[in-house]
């Protein structure tokens, strides 16, 4: 039981940032659960107030697409692979709260059914890949739109940068949890996780822009249906 077989042979499994059980201490695990449950409770309240009828199937489709895309690891520099997380994409399309619920569904099914990411560590994984990616991706996107405008190309530039930032910040959160847990000292974990995910984030940005372009081309109303008046969240 020292090294599990599934970890020795990482067959096709998208573990980009999926923390397995054993990496995190009790404190980091508890913090992960507490913060993600708080965020999710609020997300349920907000979604219950805001989600339109037409966005219901979009939630299903976003979950399905993000789950499928997370299976497709691509090689990054230095013998490492990465895959889409999709938090920024979900948040830009559905708003941060419904997006967070979609991302939580994806991460939870991955842990419960596919043993990708630990069950005890699920709280931390939801915090990193659902809560943080959606909040950071969404607020970065809104902030960038205010600065560089929302013409077609500046909007896409904003989508790219918001996606990159969401992955980068999530990887730093992951490094922080590893550091708190004593699995890896912070001064090593932070640059290591941040460095690799700075690269993976570029692909995240490209895939998110491509998906947004597809949705804008086929269903402009869905790409722009999210209420703009409620930005300050």
């Amino acid at each position: 039981m020292i090294v599990s077989a599934t970890w020795l042979v990482p067959v096709l499994s998208p573990k980009l940032m999926h923390i397995p059980d054993g990496f995190l201490s009790l404190v980091a695990t508890g913090m992960g659960w507490a913060l993600s449950i708080l965020a999710l409770a609020y997300a349920v309240v907000r979604t219950n107030r805001q989600l339109g009828e037409r966005q219901v199937p979009l939630m299903g489709v976003m979950g399905a697409f993000i789950f499928a895309a997370q299976m497709l690891n691509f090689p990054v520099a230095g013998g490492t692979s990465g895959h889409l997380i999709g938090g920024a994409l979900a948040a830009i399309l559905l708003g941060p709260w419904a997006g967070m619920l979609v991302m939580t569904s994806v991460v939870a099914i991955q842990a419960l059914l596919f043993q990708d990411g630990g069950l005890i560590a699920l709280g931390a994984n939801i915090l990193n890949m659902a809560v943080i990616t959606c909040l950071v991706g969404y607020s970065t996107w809104i902030w960038l739109q205010r600065i560089i405008g929302d013409r077609a190309w500046t909007k896409m530039a904003g989508v790219f940068m918001a996606s990159w930032v969401s992955v980068f910040v999530a990887s730093l959160a992951c490094a922080l949890q590893l550091g708190i847990s004593g699995s890896s000292p912070l001064e090593i974990a932070l640059p290591a996780m941040g460095g690799i995910h700075a690269l993976i984030g570029i692909a995240e940005g490209l895939i998110t822009v491509a998906t947004m372009a597809f949705i804008t081309a086929t269903r402009r109303d869905l790409a722009e249906s999210r209420p703009r008046a409620k930005q300050g969240e």
């Binding site: 096709l12 998208p14 923390i19 979604t47 979950g63």
Partner: protein, 101 residues
């Protein structure tokens, strides 16, 4: 495109994406890479149970097929879950839309 046609087409695209999943890179990912380099990979523990570990459906001879079927099962379950969460939480337009002529 109408709403239903669009989301059915999008769901089919998501299902189709799983067909290329056997071609996905098998290199260690970001966290695995760091865990290996920093020597804390041995801390990883097995899960308590296994249903479809590693996105490979048990019992199929072809690894590629097992991978694709596992992916499709996951896509459909996540679709249903997200749709269901949205359906339960949606704002019901009881005031506006039920009163249609």
């Amino acid at each position: 495109m109408r709403n239903r046609a669009w989301w059915i087409a999008s769901l089919i695209i998501a299902l189709a994406l799983t067909i290329v999943s056997p071609l996905a890179s098998r290199l260690p990912d970001g966290l695995e890479r760091v865990a290996e380099a920093q020597g804390f990979m041995h801390l990883a523990r097995d899960s308590f149970y296994e249903i479809i570990p590693g996105y490979v459906l048990p019992g199929l001879h072809s690894q590629a097929l097992a991978n694709i079927v596992a992916g499709m099962i996951g896509v459909l379950i996540v679709f249903g879950l997200c749709f269901g969460v949205g359906y339960v939480l949606r704002v019901r337009r009881s005031d506006g839309e039920t009163g249609k002529p």
